[in-house]
Amino acid sequence: MKNSEFSGPRYWKSLDDLAETPAFKDWVEREFPAGASEMEGVNRRHFMKVMAASFGLAGLGMAGCRRPEQTILAYSKAPESVIPGVPVYYTTSQPGVRDNVPVIVETHAGRPTKVEGNPSYKPYGGATSVYTQASILDLYDPDRATKSSISETAVRDRLAAINKAHAAEGGDRGQGLVFLAEPSTSPSRAKLVAQIKETFPAATWAEYTAIDQSTSERAAKAVFGKTLRSIPDFSKAKRVLALDADFLLNADASIGLARDFVKTRKVKDSKDATKMSRLYSVESSLTSTGSMADHRLRLSSSQMGAFIAQIAAALGVSLPAAAKTAAASLDVDAKWVKECAADLAANKGHAIVVAGEHLSKSVHAIVIAINEALSAPINYLEVADAEAGIADAVARLNEGDVKTLVILGGNPVYNAPVDLDWAAAQAKADESIYFGTEKNETAQAAKLVIAASHYLESWGDGRTFDGTLVPVQPMIEPLFPTFNELEVLARLAAAQTTDAYSIVDATFKEQGGSDFNKFLSDGLLEGSAYKASETASGDYAAAIDASELEAPELSASQLEVRFAASSHSGDGRYANNGWMMECPDPMTKLTWDNAIMISPRLAKELEEEQGIQIFPSKKPMNQDSEFFKGAKGTLQNNKAEFKRGKEQGVVAELSINGRIVKGPIHVVPGMANYTVLLPLGMGREVVGRVGQGVGFNAYSVRESNGLGIASSAVLQLTSEHYNLANTQEHWSMEGRAIIREGNADYYKKHPDFANKMGVESHAPANYGKDDDKTLQEKSVNNYRGNSAYEHPSFADPAPNVKVWKGEEARAKFPDVQQWGMAIDLNSCTGCTACVVACQSENNIPIVGKDQVLRGREMHWMRIDRYFSSEKYDQTEVPEDVQVSFMGMMCQHCENAPCEQVCPVNATVHDNQGLNTMAYNRCVGTRYCANNCPYKVRRFNFFDWNKRQIGEFYKGPLGPVDEPEIGKLQKNPNVTVRMRGVMEKCTYCTQRIEAAKIDQKRIAGATGNIKVIDGAIKTACQQVCPTDAITFGDISDAESEVSKMKASDRNYSVLGYLNARPRTTYLARLRNPNPEMPDAYKKPYAYAEYKERYGSQSSGDDHGAAHEAPGHDDHSSNHEAAPAAH
């Protein structure tokens, strides 16, 4: 066989194939017209010449293409832009249904390894969502659709044949042709769709996505007569009312929204504490937005209409009479409504109301009216009208004689509304063609499958949520023989150009772009956003349907079901993504499963009614005895039944309209009493190895008239139990001063409240006589407090290196920078993007559900989530809770307890203040992990990287073959750890080193080798939408991190241990409205601390209490907000 030495492992398309494909010839022709002529009759010499030269231009046009295996054929000439070991970054964007996320992708030797947000796109500031972080893993998923069901040439012929059969000229005009596509933001695609509609005038073009987020746009259309997209400008907001809207985490463009919103919550010092914005959240399930709320009201989703009508009435917004009647159908604390509305009204021009997209059009119409009345800072953008929906496609298919059904992406067999019975409709078409990246349910049911390229392998374009044009450019040649969507559409339309690059280039020009290379290099086209629309006063009355506002009666036998995307798989598209599956849900901390989420009240009622236990029977150890009350602690895993550290979910059957879905129950405090939350997107049946047997499929009970909310559901408990892999069993902080919270006005009066908490507040200062030294001095000099021993300062050169000794030598080795981190707890929304960013950056393996159940998840960074309640007697799960998040990773303690106990010197301190791990040296005694107060060290109990999930226990008898393709994702600058070694957060030491090398290069002879502030961003910091994490040099007083640490809210977790962590936290603030019925003088977590430890042992308020006597005691002296049901 000719050129047989070129053939690599199977997933690589052999170069031989590649060289002879028309696509390759096209490509070469485009880039190298001269070289292309030589491609006839390939010989090795010619081939290499062409290849090498092409790669030379890789950085300009064809970004970062994969090149042949370098072990066999080294570069004969080094490509210009590639320096071995130095990553190359390219811009692109992750296509979404309604927005593309602009990103920058890090590539190593042609392999994309890490996705990061593109900071050029200001609204997102370089942040991305957790899904974008994880999306790179799908590229290397060995279980994705790796090839079409027929050969590539046959696919092209088939597409041409379809065109011929249905074209307006000579065909049936598209009579027997139906398209069902996933919505897309791509203008190139839109152009091709228009062309298709022209070519096949009688064809049906429908679009469907499982989770519809366009209600507000449709409401705007009803009000204003044109489809308008509203983008609130939270940076201008002082008061926000979120109506069942998780705008901080689960909305379109929520990265930008969260970013803007948190800007109004950044508090520099106690003086501007009360300038903080205030967030009211009325919601049915516990969301990230609810966790940030200053006032949170539990209310079922179906009651939101009546609620917002009451708010509207209180604000004096005129409503139709029927709406007013509907408003009265809800019994809710009138004072809550009144005071909330009054607060919004008082901040006219700076108050925004947002509503969840699952709420009815009428709700959105009222919200638009309210926002108009409040002159809310909202931008309305004109967007295109929606295409026909899936119901039209089903209707057309059911009519019969559909010859060809083309499904472009998505997975309707799995996620179409169950009453439409898409699978049956699809089977009615003579030929169904599925084009997608996955081998999924729809692909299985299709007669012909065309494998789609991953976005990191494709040319394309798209728009962000605000319409800014962004490119999609490939980082790598398709790993498998897959197709680009634009090419498929172009071939169907028999367009002139079928090559995606040319189509995109042409679209770019049409959109008013001039410099395509600049577009690629910036990653966006400035000024290409959607046109803003002036909103003339609309016709609200017509848009409001009072019957949609009527609040239904709910009870344990008349439940409301709320469908929402799973935090693991989205609408199901990430079901085979191990990172997502193992990433704990922000609120429940469940991995590898979804669960039927119910409120504590409902759980109790079901228990009583059906006699099956949901809560643990054990009583807290100090319940009955005065003596043990002094014990100040409880141990019950008091939210769910835990057996040997495994959550035992009671399996329940949920029936809606005669359809039943079965799944484990998980009790979530803060849920509306009779709302059941069903996360969608799990329980896929045709899926790769990762998604196999994960969760249950909630789509099986979702109908088209209840896509977001369904009613009249009943829960029947069974005697079965199901193990849920929960990474955080205990949800109470136990009154410990771990996350410190205060109210804004309290902070204003007691700026040092955070440091008056915890054991350290009444223990001698760790630094003893040096307590008053500045952070900078402390960071370098390693003061020992009251210790009798002298210690070398951190920045000292190693004592055993002779050449560093002496004054002269010291001058050559200036003080090393001292790294530290500050985390602003007030900014963290708990989105967990940092967890996956860290995983992606640091080659962190996944371990599978079984191992998570055993407590062996490997995440270097975790988000601790604690609940606190106003009154918690430890016997019952509270119904109303406040949520606090804390990102926890290696704290890089200066006196690290782990270092002292390692018997082999595998974990040591370096002179930049990093607590480092020498994996090669680690023998795995795990002593360090035991002695770590923060429990952030992770141990490789098995060969996670070599063995597959499910094969860990087989030892040498099990297969050792990690799919080779998975290795391509690995960051070459981070060691892939073997079994038996400990690992942990390194402050992204590889990034620090890269920046230092870079700085040395820049410094040249000047010797200024200090890395400038901000040049290093750790992976978690980089991805954080709200900039909660700051990293930098703490020996430099001017650095951002030093400024953060200078805040009086800054404290060390467990500071009393004198471990002196380099990562410190800024206490969280809440900003309650004192007029509200559920106002609190202290956040619940603080009140709990005061009650448990504050008054007796710490006396932490000594100073403060004297200044403002009686101010801060008896925190909880108000009525709880009555939760409506």
């Binding site: 975790r862 018997p903 010197n905 023998v923 429990k935 109990f941 098995f942 087989k954 030892g955």
Partner: protein, 499 residues
Amino acid sequence: MATTTQDSSIDATQAALLAKVQPAELHEQPLVTNDRDFNWVTDKICRIVETKTPTWWWICMAVALMTASFTGLGLLWLVSSGVGVWGLANPINWGWAIVNFVFWIGIGHAGTLISAVLCLLKQGWRTSINRAAEAMTIFAVVCAGIFPLFHVGRVWFAWWLFPIPNSNAIWPQFRSPLEWDVFAVSTYGTVSVLFWYMGMIPDLGVLRDRAVQRLNKGAYEGAGALAKGMDVFRKNFYAIFAMGWRNAGNHWRNYEMAYLVLAGISTPLVLSVHTIVSFDFALAVLPGWHTTIFPPYFVAGAIFSGFGMVLTLMLPLRALYGLHDLITQRHIDNMCKICLGTGSIVGYAYIMEFFIAWYGANPYESFAFINRAFGQYWWAYIMMFSCNVFTPQLFWFKKVRANTALVWIMSIFINVGMWFERFVITVTSLANDFLPSSWGYYSPTMVDILTFFGTFGLFSVLFLLFLRFLPLMPIAEVKFVMPQADPHGHHGHENGDHH
């Protein structure tokens, strides 16, 4: 002439005086009863090794070997797949392995205490139990050593814990208590072996000489070639290990001196080993571990469990080999009393921990201790407390001590209790430490359980081999404490030694 008169007059006066004052007889139980002679002792001890292997030995050996194979297989699985086959996880990164290690090391304490400390304190009663106790110590250390060695993630690199200059040019980290463990345990093991072996040399000489005598007599007609072959083996085997022992006066002088020196070296080790093992915990920052009471408390606990184990082993041996004249009620009484004493110290420590936790006013500490007793591992705490604190208190009663079966059962309770003590300390502190978000629960896997269970098999295999091939008691030393050995003793009295 004058002198003799004087002598006899003194004798006479003395006798008269004694008759007059009628001194009370010391009712101390003799250490060898039934007025046995020296030859009986030699014969009794040597015949254990020399007679035909009893059937029960074979049965026990078979069972022990089978049990030991669990450890072997468990470790094979562990090394070939990863430490994950055990029940460990974050936050409980030390589970049964470390519990078992401390447990076995604790058991290993009695031997050296008996041979060294009691030797220096001139406690004659040590002689009939010290050899077996020392053997127990060594085998316990062998069992103990398995766990810290194999619990590491990469056992093939465990040698990095030794300060061997290697191509990496990295020393171990001398601040780590785990590193101190390596030195403490290996020193302890080495000295124990030396001490044990040194003490055995005269007895090995005896066994050699008896084999030589029988070979010289050549009276094997009835017994056959096997018996002769065994004696040839014994002659050579014991000859090698007796190292030319000839019973000469200077041999004995050197022997006695060396024995004393080793006793002196071993004595601090008795204290140091478990002190250092306790540092594994005490030097950590964890609430429940970070406790200054640990060193004395661990040492007391170790002696407690060690004596428990000696009782567990010696009582059946006494019955099997008919050693009632050598291991007397007095021995049993003494051992029970030591258990009582050390058990009470341990009990005191348990209570003192609570006091300090309260007095220290550190919420994390007080929680750790309350949690120990009343949290999710309360059952382990109850096991520990009842076995270790209540059981030994029964030894106040003579009747209890005299009931051999009861003493034996209670000795097992003691060891169960001491295992649970280590479990409670190791696991409860780790399971619920500083941040509630990381709290967890530990449960062992079958591999954990079988690996531990198997070490009892390994221990038994070694102990059975010891019984079969080595002298169970130091023959000469037993003779020293017999009434006949005291040239100044009063031969009229039955109860030999009262010094």
